[in-house]
């Protein structure tokens, strides 16, 4: 198929950016979205232009690196990551808009690459269980009910991609933060730091410049890992308890 791409090009953090139009041909259904961009980039290099910069690594939907707003939706039309989106979801002749995550807390570095280090700092503020190496009791010393373990796992599945922030009209990081709080606060091992964790993580979230949550629910719709709004409910309850 032949496609028209309108891609956000921005040479550097402080440079102005703009949507630039490109044509690509010879795209097949089996290609992933990133493979389609690979083809464009190979052509751009041979023309002496700069290829479009984008973050990616695993291309399996697990590392959380890939991050594009496609036709106005973070990760595009399917509920998956950009790297796991395939071209069979597009048709010959389509025009596709490709933009970076847009959020004050995720400044653009170049083209489609943004700085998400604010997420790392939220984790550093309390998204862990203090368990220095060598201090652990036997793994079976504390049984964990299966329901709690399963629910913790489902929230630990967050890949830290930031689509929730990009989708939110306020640029809120509530879903990301909530996923980690639910994961750790549900486990008996996480109980001793339960209150300090939620307080510190919420404070870090606020100081990083993420917006407030007004329950629009866009985050959960965009999340490729299916983290649900119930996580935010739990976060709010944990936060109230911790005050």
């Amino acid at each position: 198929m032949n496609l028209t791409l309108r891609i956000w090009r921005q040479p550097g953090p402080d440079a102005p950016g703009e949507m630039t139009v490109y044509q690509v041909g010879g795209i097949t259904e089996d290609m992933s979205f990133l493979e389609m961009l690979d083809i464009l980039n190979e052509e751009l290099i041979l023309r002496g232009d700069q290829p479009v910069a984008f973050d990616h690594d695993c291309r399996e939907g697990i590392c959380g690196a890939c991050s594009m707003v496609i036709n106005g939706r973070p990760h595009g039309p399917e509920r998956t990551t950009t790297c796991q989106l395939h071209m069979r979801h597009f048709t010959d002749g389509d025009t596709i808009d490709v933009e970076p995550w847009r959020s004050a807390a995720f400044p653009v570095i170049k083209d489609l690459v943004v700085d998400r280090s604010a997420f790392d700092r939220i984790i550093g503020a309390g998204g862990y269980i203090t368990a220095p190496t060598g201090s652990a009791p036997d793994a079976h010393a504390v049984p964990v009910p299966k329901e709690a373990a399963d629910r913790a796992f489902e929230h630990a599945e967050c890949i830290g991609c930031g689509a929730c922030v990009a989708a939110c009209p306020n640029g809120s990081a509530m879903l990301f933060t909530a996923a980690k709080v639910v994961h750790l606060n549900l486990l008996p091992q996480g109980a001793p730091e339960r209150r300090s964790r939620v307080r510190s993580m919420v404070a870090a979230m606020d100081s990083e410049g993420f917006g407030g949550c007004t329950n629009t629910g866009e985050c959960a719709t965009a999340c490729p890992k299916g983290i649900g709004l119930d996580a935010i409910g739990t976060l709010n309850r944990e936060f109230l308890r911790a005050r």
């Binding site: 097949t28 089996d30 290609m31 290829p51 862990y128």
Partner: protein, 654 residues
């Protein structure tokens, strides 16, 4: 002595140097060696640790665990990864699970059995002392991870669930659905994040190590490039740890993350670290086949599918009917036919070679004839669709997303792909390379898996190295090595920085007409053909001739747009390729010199009468540690392997 192995303008031959006499493994009963080593290790006074700096390159399971642990012990850690966050290291993608000799099932597992399985699975090409220690330490890993909040799968009673994996007879694999690597890595990442926030670890994300600084014979730092600004930085330390992962991406197409690369270990090799068994690479039998020339990477489908799926191809070559139109009598369930007792569950290397063989006969299926069927029709008839969905539903979904085919209706197509590299930097019992002060952990070293790695053992090794083995041995090194001040203007430091800058400038200056990826694909295809699943002397010689030609063309025709002073992903790729060319050559040389078959290394000249891999212990019962020689061919140092505990036998699965 000089040995002629090929006649071309690249490596003409190699020379043989002194054998490796001392691996630093303590002697005495194997069960007591690790305790002894730790007892004899010197300690650094806690008050003095802040004054000692350790560089850790890599934030995967090995590096993440090591960085967090060393910082907890009080060292000043400076850590690097090329991703935007430590959480995205390639370890995140591991699916199946992690082994540990917990024997929670009471099914006869023990440290000794895990040790035995690993030595045998490695086809008797690993060092017994190291493997035994790995088995011992495995027990502590699970405790550590549970304490960190890793949500392993649990049973209704609240205790940990396990599964069995890859041809062993006990159930010792702990897992978190199909995302074990993710959950283990997040545990390590969170521990590391705590140390970063506390100011004990200085993290440099989006920063790539380009070279190693060696001063007065000791590793003292690295030269790294800030991938955002393009600035070259020199970082100095008292010791350097490489936790930079494997080199499977030398093949271009592999199951590794796209940016995984060999630059850190290869540059260290060029500075004096021996590289061991580079030809020991693992090919995984169950990956989704490539769908065309645009293919950028290959996706693994968990090996567990072989428990219920049946593998077949049409009996007749060139049969293009759709699978469901091929009657039972015209199908060849070739693994069941060739290996009646193991059937579809033969080890990874055997399943992979058999798939290649039937495709070479023209019986492969799908685009380009590079695929075989993995059929669940019988399993669905026997167990019902629901049970099959419960066991493999997420894998079926992933397959369908990528191929748009429904595995409940039509058989999956699979083909082998490069997955893991057993070779790596040679390390002694302390995980120290041949450069004092340079340590290598995780997939970056060659340590524990011999010629073939068992499923679920890489995660175990990465975490064993990072949490439990490296911290005490590094402590010992620092305690015995006085702190010597060093500044970036030292001539040896400046020379390394200049060399790195010159290389980038040279890449930008070529300004030819071929992209970095086009060269990488060509190199990868050559390696896959000649140094992949089956290797022959003639094919390896051909590759050894072709690689230098391709490299020369690279330096003539490469095109890298942009400058070095900005985020430039083409420059990153080109710079990694320079090292891949050299590594590829050493892999082929190693494969050529090792005229035996063992584990993942199959030399067509060395087969048993029934076509299985024939090991030649008398001649090749050693690890091959290669020394870089700037002015001539590589130098081979043999580490003879001694098996006092597990008696070498020839594998048989017929």
């Amino acid at each position: 002595m000089s040995i002629q192995v090929s006649s071309n303008q690249g490596y003409e031959h190699y020379t043989v140097g002194a054998p490796i006499a001392d691996t630093k493994a303590p002697d005495g009963p194997i069960e007591e060696r690790w305790d002894r080593r730790r007892f004899e290790a010197k300690l650094v006074n806690p008050a003095n640790r802040r004054g000692r700096t350790v560089i850790v390159v890599g934030t995967g399971l090995a590096g993440g665990a090591a960085g967090a642990t060393l910082a907890e012990q009080g060292y000043r850690v400076v850590q690097f990864c090329f991703q935007d966050s430590p959480r995205r290291a390639h370890s995140i993608a591991a699916q199946g699970g992690i082994n540990a000799a917990k024997n929670y099932r009471n099914d006869g597992d023990s440290i000794r059995r895990l040790f035995y399985d690993t030595v045998k699975g490695g086809d008797f090409r690993a060092r017994e002392s190291n493997v035994h220690r790995l088995a011992q330490v495995s027990v502590e890993i699970i405790d550590q991870c549970v304490a960190q909040g890793v949500p392993f799968a649990r049973e209704y009673g609240g205790l940990l669930d396990t599964r069995s994996f890859g041809g062993v007879q006990v159930s010792r694999t702990f897992y978190a659905r199909g995302q074990t690597g993710q959950q283990l890595l997040l545990g390590a990442y969170q521990a590391l994040s705590r140390q970063i926030a506390a100011g004990n670890v200085e993290l440099h994300a989006r920063t790539e190590m380009l070279d190693l600084v060696v001063v007065d014979g000791r590793a003292r730092g690295i030269v790294a490039r800030d991938l955002v600004t393009g600035k070259l930085e020199t970082h100095l330390a008292d010791a350097v740890v490489l936790a930079t992962g494997g080199y499977g991406n030398v093949f271009y197409l592999s199951t590794n993350a796209k940016n995984s690369n060999a630059t850190a270990i290869w540059r260290a090799h060029r500075r004096g670290a021996y590289f061991a068994n580079p030809c020991f690479t693992q090919i995984h039998p169950t990956c989704i086949p490539r769908s065309g020339d645009h293919q950028s990477k290959l996706t693994l489908m968990s090996e567990s599918l072989r428990n219920d799926g049946r593998i077949w191809v049409p009996k007749a070559a060139g049969d293009t009917r759709p699978p469901n139109a091929i009657p039972e009598a015209e199908r060849d369930y070739y693994l069941e036919r060739m290996y009646p007792s193991f059937g579809n569950l033969v080890p990874r290397d055997i399943a992979s070679r058999a798939a290649k063989a039937v495709c070479d006969e023209g019986r492969g299926v799908g685009p380009g004839g590079q695929g075989v069927y993995l059929d669940f029709a019988d399993a669905i008839a026997r167990l019902g669709r629901d049970t099959v969905a419960e066991r493999y539903g997420n894998l079926f979904d992933m397959y369908q997303r990528i191929t748009a085919e429904d595995p409940y209706q039509v058989p999956m197509r699979i083909y082998p792909a490069i997955h893991y590299t057993m070779g790596g930097l040679w390390v002694d019992y302390d995980l120290q390379t041949t450069i004092p002060g340079l340590f290598a952990i995780g997939e970056a070293n060659f340590s524990d898996h011999g010629a073939n790695r068992l499923g679920a053992s890489a995660l175990m090794q990465g975490l064993a190295d990072g949490y439990f083995v490296l911290p005490p041995t590094l402590n010992d090194y620092l305690a015995r090595t006085p702190a010597v001040p060093l500044t970036p203007d030292h001539p040896e430091v400046e020379a390394v920085a200049t060399e790195a800058a010159d290389r980038l400038a040279a890449l930008l200056a070529v300004n030819g007409d071929r992209t970095p990826d086009s060269f990488h694909r060509e190199l990868g295809e050559l390696l896959w053909d000649e140094c992949g699943m089956a290797r022959s002397a003639a094919g390896l010689r051909k590759a050894l001739e072709r690689i230098p030609e391709l490299r020369a063309e690279f330096w003539r025709r490469l095109k890298v747009p942009g400058t070095g002073e900005e985020l430039n992903q083409s420059l990153e790729k080109a710079n990694r390729l320079v090292d891949y060319f050299e590594l590829a050559e050493l892999m082929c040389l190693d494969a050529l010199h090792r005229a035996e078959s063992c584990g993942g290394h199959f030399r067509v000249e060395s087969q048993t009468p029934d076509g299985e891999a024939a090991r030649r212990d008398e001649e090749f019962g050693y690890s091959a540690a290669w020394e870089f020689n700037p002015s001539g061919p590589p130098v081979l140092h043999r580490e003879e392997l001694v098996f006092d505990h597990v008696h070498p036998t020839q594998r048989s699965y017929a």
